[in-house]
């Protein structure tokens, strides 16, 4: 029987129509549709599968404004047992340290056996919130996890490395894992699940920053990538011209 906490974030949908906000430091939120951060969906799936195998409870935790309730509802519809919504208006400006702090304080009384987060978020892509959360809670962590097996009080994990390499590691519970996308087939919420979600407990708490925790990150400017056409012609013998072209493609265009 494990108590599994899955930390999920609501992010702008991947193919949202993006316009820069008149303030110039963020995108216009009224244009956006929101969805669950993709790696978090895999974290949830992994949590639900572990619960199905070894029993226990899946608790989802999310921080953000009122709209986040829809993503929480989705997680409950897919099978999470209950949820904690940390209400916070400005997640965009919070940064990973501040976010991890409010989550850590919300989890103080929970004492989970396992915490799963996504590897990174589709909007900011810091890739730090989970890892910082582990440090704040004094838990060991492992990142970029593809597969989780529970063996009594320890975990056997498959991590993704670069270039198609994988690493198998063992570590003790309790622990925190940041999960990679694509390792599982995501389930659909059933209509019955959607109906039941309405009756599940969602505890809403105010996201108060702990003492001395200012925001660590400020966004200066958001802008659309400029596009400009430039042509360059490499003269000389084909062998040299080709070598120059490859070098440019590698180090300037970075497409090779």
């Amino acid at each position: 029987m494990m108590k599994i906490v899955v930390v999920i974030k609501q992010v702008p949908a991947r193919d949202s129509f993006l316009r820069v906000d008149p303030g110039g430091a963020w995108i216009q939120e009224s244009d956006l549709n929101y969805e669950i951060n993709e790696p978090d969906a895999y974290a949830l799936e992994a949590g639900l599968q572990l619960k199905e195998k070894s029993g226990g409870e899946v608790v989802v935790v999310s921080t953000g404004p009122a709209r986040v309730a829809s993503t929480i509802r989705e997680a409950l519809a897919k099978g999470a047992d209950r949820a904690i919504h940390i209400e916070q208006e400005d997640v965009a400006g919070a940064g990973p340290l501040a976010t991890a702090r409010v989550i850590a304080s919300a989890l103080e009384t929970e004492k989970p056996d396992l915490i799963l987060t996504g590897l990174q978020s589709d909007d900011f892509g810091y890739g730090q919130t989970g890892v910082i959360l582990a440090e704040l809670m004094g838990l060991p962590h492992a990142t970029i996890i593809m597969n989780v097996e529970v063996n009594g009080a320890s975990l056997r994990l498959k991590r993704e490395l670069e270039n198609g390499y994988f690493q198998h590691v063992e570590m003790p519970l309790p622990a925190l894992l940041t999960m990679q996308s694509g390792s599982n087939k995501l389930r659909y919420a059933t209509l019955m699940g959607i109906k039941k979600a309405k009756t599940k407990e969602v505890r809403t708490i105010a996201g108060v920053q702990p003492e001395g925790a200012g925001t660590s990150i400020r966004i200066e400017r958001v802008y659309m990538p400029g596009s400009s056409k430039q042509s360059q012609i490499f003269d000389g013998p084909p062998r040299e011209a080709a070598a120059k072209l490859v070098e440019k493609l590698k180090f300037e265009a970075r497409v090779l």
Partner: protein, 389 residues
């Protein structure tokens, strides 16, 4: 092509609550993940993708708006949204779900005996059993009141004779709800696959609804027990009340097909370049087509949503449903044709979904009451004069 995100010009999504959004999302993800990858081949090969049936059941899509027997008891708006997403995949898939839920489960749920309900509803809901609805006959389509199929009492049994045709799911059905003439008017009978005197044969050569099974049913001294009679209804209002349920779903479903055509055409016209390296979307005549399409889709969405809210309040009448079904099927067909046009030659291949939707929608215009017949229903409603004959 990016994954389907729906079409919402007039912020109609803002009128949906969070549960309605979730229901639509589940249906949309299912269609994107499980239907789109297989539907083109199924259509080419002229077969229903039967492998989807268990998942349709598990997700709760079969009889979604019924209460009890394992069903989710969704609202009619939620049910409509499911139909819309399924038909975005294919009208044949939506037809399967319409027939199972609205034409077989609904009448059993509403008019069936307890034994019939317990026997069939859980199995039909889970997709462990398939049902079909036999009303149309070779000589009686728009005018089912004149049907020739009969059921005669013989001791405790009933003996059926006659022929039904154009029956969706006919040969795959474990149970067939057959409407037949009796001494006490038109009655419904649940005939099980394998009953002596009951045979089916499939209709081949369809250029429409190719991913759906359509069959003829024949009854030659087909003897069924007294318990096969649907006890709760007699007269034409039995089948017509089922059709009202199904037509309501069609009014939503065709919006899905229309959205898919429109969205495909919109994206295509922004990429395809003709004359001076300009996207064809920059030409005024193309923009007019897109403007007409999105306007008609938006009106159809409003009609469907309003009808759904009325249905949830118990205020939706058959004459309202006629307007919903007739208008939305017609505009979907127009949009499919206009979209096909905008894709030029590419529009006629099955690399794009448009021609498939276009062909399917020809059936949708005809079945469940033709465009004409629904015009006559509306005409009767506003004049008080029935003009069917």
């Amino acid at each position: 092509m990016q994954s389907f995100r729906g079409v919402d010009y007039l912020l109609i999504d803002s009128q949906l609550d969070s549960q309605e959004h979730l229901v639509r999302q589940t249906a949309r993800e299912f269609v994107e993940g499980a239907v789109i990858p297989v539907i083109r081949d199924a259509y080419r090969e002229g077969r229903f993708p039967t492998q989807l049936i268990p998942e349709l059941g598990r997700l709760g899509f079969l009889g979604a708006n019924l209460e009890g027997y394992g069903c989710a008891g969704m609202s009619n708006v939620e049910y409509g949204l499911i139909m819309q997403e399924l038909e975005r995949g294919d009208s044949g898939l939506r037809s399967f779900v319409s027939v199972q839920g609205a034409l077989v489960m609904y009448p059993i749920w509403k008019y069936g005996s307890d034994d019939q309900k317990n026997r069939w509803l859980p199995a039909l809901h889970k997709g462990e059993a398939v049902g079909c609805f036999g009303l149309t006959e070779p000589d009686f389509g728009s005018n089912p009141a004149a049907m020739r199929t009969t059921a005669a009492r013989d001791g405790a049994d009933w003996v059926l004779n006659g022929e039904k045709t154009w029956i969706t799911n006919g040969s795959s059905a474990d149970v067939s709800l057959v409407w037949a003439r009796t001494d006490s008017g038109i009655r419904g009978f649940l005939v099980e696959k394998g009953t002596r005197g009951y045979a089916t044969s499939d209709i081949h050569g369809k250029m429409s609804m190719r991913a759906s099974v359509t069959s003829s049913l024949s009854f030659a001294d087909c003897r069924v027990p007294g318990a096969a009679l649907l006890p709760g209804v007699s007269g034409l209002k039995g089948p017509l009340s089922c059709l009202s349920q199904a037509r309501y779903g069609i009014g939503w479903g065709v919006i899905g097909a229309a959205m898919d055509c429109y969205e495909t055409a919109r994206q295509y016209t922004m990429l395809r370049k003709q004359f001076d390296d300009r996207p064809i979307a920059s030409h005024q005549l193309v923009q007019e087509k897109l403007a007409d399409m999105i306007t008609e889709i938006t009106k159809a969405q409003l009609l469907a949503l309003h009808a759904g809210r009325l249905k949830d309040q118990g205020k939706l009448e058959p004459a309202h449903i006629s307007m919903l079904k007739r208008n939305n099927a017609a505009i979907a067909l127009d949009i499919a044709r206009a979209s096909r046009d905008l894709l030029g030659a590419n529009g006629v291949t099955d690399e794009y979904p448009i021609m498939r939707h276009l062909c399917n929608l020809e059936t949708v215009k005809t079945y469940e009451g033709t465009d004409h017949i629904h015009a006559l229903v509306i005409g009767e409603r506003v004049t008080g004069i029935a003009a069917y004959r």
